[in-house]
Amino acid sequence: MLTVALFLPLLGMLAVLAMPGERRMLLRNVALGAAGLTFAVWVGLWLGFDVGAGYQYRSSVPWIPALGIGYAVGVDGISLPLALLTALLFLASLVASWEENDRVKEYYAWFLFLETACLGVFVALDLFLFYIFWDLTLVGMYFIIALWGHTGAQAAALKFFLYTLVGSLALLLGVIVLYLTSEPRTLDIVELTAQRPLAAGGWTATLAFFALLLGFGIKTPLVPVHTWLPPAHAEAPAAGSAILAGVLLKMGTYGFVRILLPILPETFAQYAWLVVLLGVVSVIYGALVALAQTDLKRLIAYTSINHMGYVIMAVGAVGWLARGDTAARTLALNGAVLQMVSHGLITGSLFLLAGVLWRRAQDFDIDHFGGLSKPMPRYAGTFAFAAFASLGLPGLSGFVAEFQIFVGTFGISPWAAALALMGIVITAGLFLWTLQRVFLGPLDERHAHFDDLRGYEQVALWPLLALVLFIGLYPGWIITLIEGATGVLAARLVP
């Protein structure tokens, strides 16, 4: 069943490829149908999911017995919310691309390909399989940026590919080290988690840890290996940016939670201070640099660095075994996973909203705008809602996640939590200032004829934001789901 949910988008891609390129409406409907069906199947999987029962829907087929590699998939309370987010965000992005008219067939084909690759990263329970999907996302994203991006897209796409490939290969090194040190040799994540092959420490453990840290850190991205992100976001098409921020960045943090922390807890504990530090630096640096941006998409990109910084800080604190207790760890871990979901929804919406503006103005420069709330009241309202969600307004999902992160981290490393709190203050000011610059003040007459949110744009955006509100008001259901897995993980982390 999980395999079906995983490869449905790929089937959709094949269907799209088999159709004539001129029939755009048909292509759109087929692609949307595939993405919609995928989402429906994932919702079905979620409804049938037994909270707290560990990995479910597992299937495992030997694949390369010579290397102990299998096709192993399964979901638990950490990966299921992320997979649901992926399916939802791809659906929303494809809806938001309704007016895309350039090379339509290839456009939908690449997006559906990318969807399977992203889902694969979250459901893979074999490191080899995980790595395959991980690298395939690079290919998909490369072509989406290079083909449908803005003026500097090809250079940005190349930078994205090269930079993140460095991360991939560091990851590959870590994977091989884990494989060679496991006994019996395996690449199965569950088995490796049980084995903890590098518990004894030593230089191989350090090598594996830093290789994986670099691999996941580039993807997240953590300061100082974040520099690929702003140009990639700035040049990508809006839907591509939404996926990049909403889904691809989560792969980095997911790697921390799924692989680095559970398989190498001893080494992680040794360097947890470094992870916390990197998280805090990303929080503050991302927020400060975002302040200086005049390009709307770059601004959102830097707030992403800031938001992912919270996640890393929390994960680092969780791994700091010398401090805190299991309750604090569970809380911080819940916050981290929820923040991934929440950031995906909110930042995905923000990038799609930036795309709305691009369709009308072909411009992202904040200084060129002003008073847009007059011609586009619904747009202004929607944007303001997303911006408030992003700055962590209580009652919205970002607040729930960040609150748990801060409370949990405070119980382990109060200084880090206190420092990171500055990031919240800065982003709050930043978003208010941005809203003021874009939507208030005098209206440029060239912008007076802009039409408000179109039908399909509302269909794409409002469900995402409704979910943000729903999680903000009733977070219980998703926290229960997440805690089914994080509780187990936190309980295993004892000094």
Partner: protein, 465 residues
């Protein structure tokens, strides 16, 4: 004397002579028959090699001078299949050439040399294989005598080849002098007492074999020859001598005692070769030259497998698997050039609008070189890197990973314009090229996805002595 142990060699030998003789009697207009003949010979030999792979108990033939083992049969299969693909590619290029029939005879002789080299367990046999491939392939490169680039290429190829073969002879003679035997199986007793002579013998032999395998420092001919020769010949030379010579290097190194320090030497060669090939590929605008440098860097990765040979049980399987991955991707990439009829990156701009499947094949082949999962090149590299790490070569693996990142840049430089830019030229190449390109691309994908058993088969094979 068991002739069945060298059946593929005999088939190709008889076939080569037969093709030559038949060619004499064929009327000019119908000489393409000799291509069919050569193809039939190669298929027959491949069937023999396949049977050997499946049923033969590893053993020496002819008093220990020829190793009829799994690795030999495997590499012979790779060589024969690649040669067959090159024959198919050559048909439209050499149709109605004044010396059409002789081309296929020469191709078979060059292939025969590679088959001998693959199984050589005696230094004289090794030399025989190297010389036979050399002599067979010199005229292939300059088959179009009016072409100035081809003339320049063959001159470089021939002069450097003569020098490298001389080095090989010197090295092998020294090995003989030190061990009092020409059999590789007798080299196990070589003691590093006479350090200078041993080091010299090792260096000269490896440099000599490097001419065929295409690694530093005897790799200089590769880009010029790939550019100057016709595409089918370039495809042939990029695979056949290379895999055979690398197996010979592996066999030789494995026979030597490890105290001689050969792993350090091959590790150094691997490091320099992959880096050199990659960096030189950066600025190439002619895809044939770019593929040349890429094949040099691939030789570097393959040498990692040789380096790990005695310390990792996975190394031989990794090496053999990557031979297949390399051959499929390389033949496929050259076939794309045969199918498009162009050579430069710029001339292929926008090809995706004209021939999407060709671009698909090219992208799969090049990304397989780079090592993108789940393509065959990735599995090969994964296995090679794992073997090297297992043998303790951490720095080499890190360097190889860095090189992999670098290589992405120039492979994307080829794929990028094909997909992103508007078309400039009409493709003018052959249909055979398209077929082989799709086969190469399809294999690169299929060997990665489905036929993972291949690595398992590789693990069961032996490399004598």
């Amino acid at each position: 004397m068991r002739l069945d142990l060298i059946l593929p060699l005999l088939v190709v030998l008889v076939g080569a002579i037969g093709t030559l003789v038949v060619g004499i009697f064929l009327p000019r207009a119908r000489q393409t028959i000799s291509a069919w003949l050569a193809g039939a010979v190669l298929v027959t030999a491949a069937v023999c090699a396949g049977l050997q792979l499946a049923f033969l108990v590893p053993q020496f033939a002819f008093d220990g001078s020829f190793a009829a083992d799994g690795a030999t049969a495997w590499v012979q299969l790779v060589v024969l299949a690649s040669a067959l693909a090159c024959v198919v590619l050559a048909v439209p290029v050499f149709r109605n050439d004044a010396r059409e029939a002789e081309f296929y005879a020469l191709l078979l002789f060059a292939t025969l040399g590679a088959l001998v080299l693959a199984g050589a367990a005696d230094v004289m046999e090794m030399l025989l294989g190297v010389l036979l491939t050399s002599v067979g392939s010199y005229p292939l490169v300059v088959y179009r005598r009016a072409d100035r680039l081809a003339l320049e290429a063959v001159l470089k190829y021939y002069l450097l080849g003569a020098l490298a073969n001389l080095a090989l002879i010197l090295g092998l003679v020294l090995l003989y002098a030190l061990s009092a035997s020409t059999l590789l199986s007798d080299f196990g007793g070589l003691a590093p007492t006479n350090t200078v002579a041993v080091a010299l013998a090792l260096a000269l032999t490896l440099a000599g074999l490097g001419f065929k395998a295409g690694y530093v420092p005897t790799h200089y001919w590769i880009p010029d020859v790939y550019q100057g020769a016709t595409v089918p010949v370039a495809a042939l030379l990029s695979v056949i001598p290379k895999v055979a010579a690398l197996l010979a290097v592996a066999r030789l190194c494995q026979a030597l005692p490890e105290q001689l320090g050969w792993p350090a030497l091959t590790a150094g060669l691997a490091a320099v070769t992959m880096t050199w090939g990659n960096l030189a590929a950066f600025r190439q605008n002619d895809i044939r030259r770019l593929l040349g440098y890429s094949s040099i860097s691939q030789a570097g990765y393959l040498l990692m497998g040789v380096t790990a040979l005695t310390d990792s049980p996975l190394a031989l399987a990794a090496l053999l698997y990557h031979f297949v991955a390399y051959a499929a991707a390389n033949i496929g990439a050259f076939a794309v050039l045969a199918a498009s009829g162009h050579h430069t990156i710029a001339a292929h701009a926008g090809l995706v609008r004209q021939r999407p499947w060709l671009v698909f094949a090219m992208a799969v082949c090049l990304l397989s070189f780079m090592g993108l999962p789940p393509l065959a090149g990735f599995v090969g590299k994964f296995a090679l890197f794992t073997a090297a790490l297992q043998a303790g070569w951490v720095w080499l693996v890190v360097l190889a990973l860095i090189n992999t990142v670098l290589s992405l840049y120039y492979y994307l430089r080829v794929i990028g314009p094909m997909v992103l830019q508007p078309p400039r030229h009409e493709p003018v190449g052959s249909g055979q090229g398209t077929v082989i390109a799709l086969l190469g691309g399809g294999l690169s994908l299929a060997l990665g996805l489905g036929a993972y058993g291949l690595l398992g088969v590789g693990k069961t094979l032996t490399l004598l002595p």
